[in-house]
């Protein structure tokens, strides 16, 4: 094996090994050591990814295939890794942001009785995500896909003593299964169409061999899987509940791992979506619809983490709109910048919650900037980034998505308009959250002593703030670095392009104005001494997410329960048990009738014999002898 092949393999094996060690020895390791081990494996992974990916940046890198082993021989499926710019970018984001979150967790999880186990799960999470992004075929991708789901379950319900947390983990798992079922069906169709699950085979032969109908079927099923993992409508319901997990877990799920999987997968299989324009349009429609829908819900949330959860769903919607429109680079770009500022937002929110000893309700915060200057400063950076204020990273990536949508014209203009409206709402709800938490009059309880986070938590915040501030530079209209970087991965695809220079300036000005408008509107409503009551039926409806959850509970959960009751009571107890019991009853009844024949009188038996013999003889004689 060459050095680069070893490096790419180590990328996965390091966190995997770390998780195994921590799982078995985590309880014996002293607390910070377990955390440091977990951080070190992911951090080393980042260094490896950077070294291995350096070639792509300088233009000398070549797509690398690392064959591992023959896996499902009879099906011709082998396991191996694919190292190209797209997987390199994902690996860098996953390990980079992941390492910072691990570092932060050393401070956040201090004193937790299952400290070592937490890092074991986190390492496994990172390893699974790396497997997902580095896989060289659908089969291994699916393994990573499922492992990520498992890890999210383990981590969301990490504090399983809380019934809500246990239920949230279960919900995440079950909702993900719905998407996974679609994904698996898509894989079966792919195998049926190509006889292979290897990316090179499938994506290379797709344009020549795949019929339009089949492509549409495959891509729509893939979309179902992506919607489950990436929390898009209608399978988004697990993500807000996932807030029950420890805050670093939310950061990891929302920024680096898990939810980006769907976007990545659509980008990776772009060759298939190219053949199914209708399915691609559905992707974009689902994305932009989810973006607007989740943004409106975020406006009404009281829980600081739930605001961020709906914000993630909304931002992922942007990415879906981008990849659906063929703007794969813009989608991946937003994925990257979003990873930075959303991780920052979650870690900052974690610092706030930490400072207020577990308080998550925005109504009992306020005025925190005096007590938490570092957290506030970094959160302000993230806020401006997600709102889309230039020159922060979020502006560049979001604007590239909107501009590309605009440039496609036609019906895509509607998508663009919805995206712009969402940008307004995004700026509004993020400002609301920041104002309520950090500014205004303190509303926290008497006796609370908010304190700044320890250094081990502040350092990741600082690094992420710098990234959220400056990451936009990797891909500007003047220097489209990321586009060149990713070019080899999207070779031959029908890519959407940016509009011409003048239009770009106008669009940028419009979206900046919209973002500012959102911030100012929120300032008018929330930047005052008393925070608005936000009560009434309309607020209540939005706060509960338009009662979609309750609807699901009524239709699917209650429906499932009714079906289970039908099979258990009607089919099993009445049907199967009835049949078995019926046979017994029948035999007993017949026996009861036959009992009187046995009278105990020997002479009657004898008479029976005689009658029988006479009858036999008569029969023989009637047949004319024997």
């Amino acid at each position: 094996m060459e050095a680069s092949e070893v490096m790419v393999s180590l990328l996965i094996l390091l966190p995997l090994g770390g998780s195994v060690v921590l799982l078995f020895a985590g309880r014996r390791l002293p607390e910070p050591l377990a955390g440091m081990l977990g951080t070190a494996t992911v951090g080393t992974g980042f260094a490896l990814a950077a070294v291995a990916g350096w070639g792509f940046l300088t233009g000398s890198g070549e797509t690398l295939r690392v064959p591992w082993f023959e896996w499902l021989g009879p099906l011709g499926v082998s396991a191996g890794l694919l190292w190209d710019p797209l997987s390199a970018l994902m690996a860098l984001v996953v390990t980079g942001v992941g390492a910072l979150i691990h570092l932060y967790s050393i401070g956040y999880m201090k004193g937790d009785p299952r400290f070592g186990r937490f890092f074991a799960y986190m390492n496994l999470f990172v390893a699974s995500m790396l497997l997902l992004v580095l896989a060289d075929g659908f089969a291994l991708l699916f393994v990573g896909w499922e492992l990520v789901g498992l890890c999210s379950y383990l981590l969301i319900s990490f504090w399983f003593e809380k019934p809500v947390a246990a239920a949230a983990g279960k919900k995440a798992f079950v909702v993900n299964r719905v998407g996974d079922a679609g994904f698996l069906a898509a894989l079966m169709l792919v195998f049926a169409a190509f006889g292979s699950l290897d990316y090179g085979q499938v994506l290379g032969r797709a344009s020549a061999e795949l019929s339009g109908g089949m492509a549409t079927a495959i891509t729509l099923l893939l979309l179902l899987g992506a919607a489950g993992k990436s929390a898009q409508f209608p399978l988004y319901v697990w993500l807000p509940d996932a807030m029950e997990g420890p805050t670093p877990v939310s950061a990891l799920i929302h920024a680096a791992t898990m939810v980006t999987a769907g976007v990545f997968m659509v980008a990776r299989t772009g060759a298939l979506f190219d053949l199914a324009p209708a399915a691609a349009a559905v992707v974009a429609a689902v994305g932009i619809g989810t973006a607007l829908y989740a943004a409106t819900i975020a406006v009404a949330q009281h829980d600081i983490k739930r605001v961020l959860a709906y914000s993630t769903i909304s931002q992922l919607g942007y990415m879906f709109a981008a990849v659906g429109a063929g703007a794969y680079v813009a989608g991946m770009y937003h994925l990257t910048t979003h990873a930075f500022f959303k991780a920052l937002l979650f870690l900052g929110a974690g610092a706030v919650i930490h400072a207020l000893s577990g308080e998550q309700d925005l109504r009992r915060m306020g005025g925190l900037w005096r007590r938490l200057p570092v957290t506030t400063a970094t959160m302000v950076v993230a806020w401006l980034a997600i709102s889309g204020i230039p020159p922060l990273s979020g502006f560049w990536s979001k604007d590239e998505i909107l501009a590309t949508l605009y440039a496609r014209g036609g019906a895509w203009l509607a998508v663009w308009a919805v995206g712009l409206a969402t940008a307004l709402i995004t700026a509004f709800y993020m400002s609301r959250m920041i104002y309520l938490a950090f500014f205004g009059r303190p509303r926290w309880e008497e006796g609370a002593h908010p304190h700044e986070a320890p250094g081990v938590m502040a350092v990741p915040l600082g690094i992420l703030a710098v990234l959220a501030l400056a990451a936009g530079a990797v891909n500007t209209p003047w220097r489209p670095g990321l586009e060149h970087f990713l070019e080899p991965s999207f070779e031959g695809l029908d890519l959407a392009h940016l509009p011409s220079g003048g239009t770009q300036w106008v669009l940028a000005a419009v979206s900046t104005a919209v973002a500012l408008a959102g911030i100012l509107l929120a300032a008018a409503a929330y930047l005052r001494a008393r925070c608005p009551a936000e009560e009434g039926p309309a607020w209540d409806l939005v706060r509960r997410g338009y009662r979609v959850d309750e609807g699901y509970a009524r239709v699917f959960a209650a429906g499932g329960e009714a079906a289970a009751r039908f099979t258990s009571v009607t089919v099993d107890e009445k049907g199967v048990d009835g049949l078995v019991n019926g046979v017994g009853v029948l035999v007993r009844a017949v026996g009861e009738r036959l009992r009187p024949l046995q009278t105990g009188f020997v002479r009657q038996y004898g008479l029976g014999i005689v009658v029988g013999v006479v009858a036999l003889l008569a029969w023989f004689l009637s047949r004319g002898g024997w």
């Binding site: 009992r595 046995q598 105990g600």
Partner: protein, 101 residues
């Protein structure tokens, strides 16, 4: 008058019917026992008569078997009847209906 095999067979039939009737109509276990012997020997008589008429020894051979079986049956049967009589002071089979269903 020549006594043809038919006579023997007719006599055997009569004896058999007497035995069967006794079996069915009497209650005393000992009498029923004797009825069984009558039927067995009726069968023996027909065996011998048929064997003689056909000029083969098979009939007589069969009779030996029947006699052995009958002797064994008498041994076991009488022992049971005596045991029951000691216990219940009766030999009426109608009163021995303990195995009634």
């Amino acid at each position: 008058m020549i006594v043809t095999p038919g006579w023997y067979l007719a006599l055997a039939a009569v004896i058999f019917v007497i035995g069967a009737s006794g079996m069915l109509l009497r209650r005393n276990a000992l009498v029923m026992f004797m009825s069984v012997e009558l039927m067995l020997n009726a069968a023996n008589l027909s065996f011998v008569a048929a064997g003689r008429a056909l000029g083969v020894l098979d009939g007589q051979a069969a009779v030996f078997f029947v006699m052995v079986v009958a002797a064994a049956e008498v041994v076991v049967g009488l022992a049971i009847i005596v045991a029951v009589f000691r216990r219940r002071a009766t030999a009426s089979v109608d009163e021995l209906s303990g195995l009634k269903g």
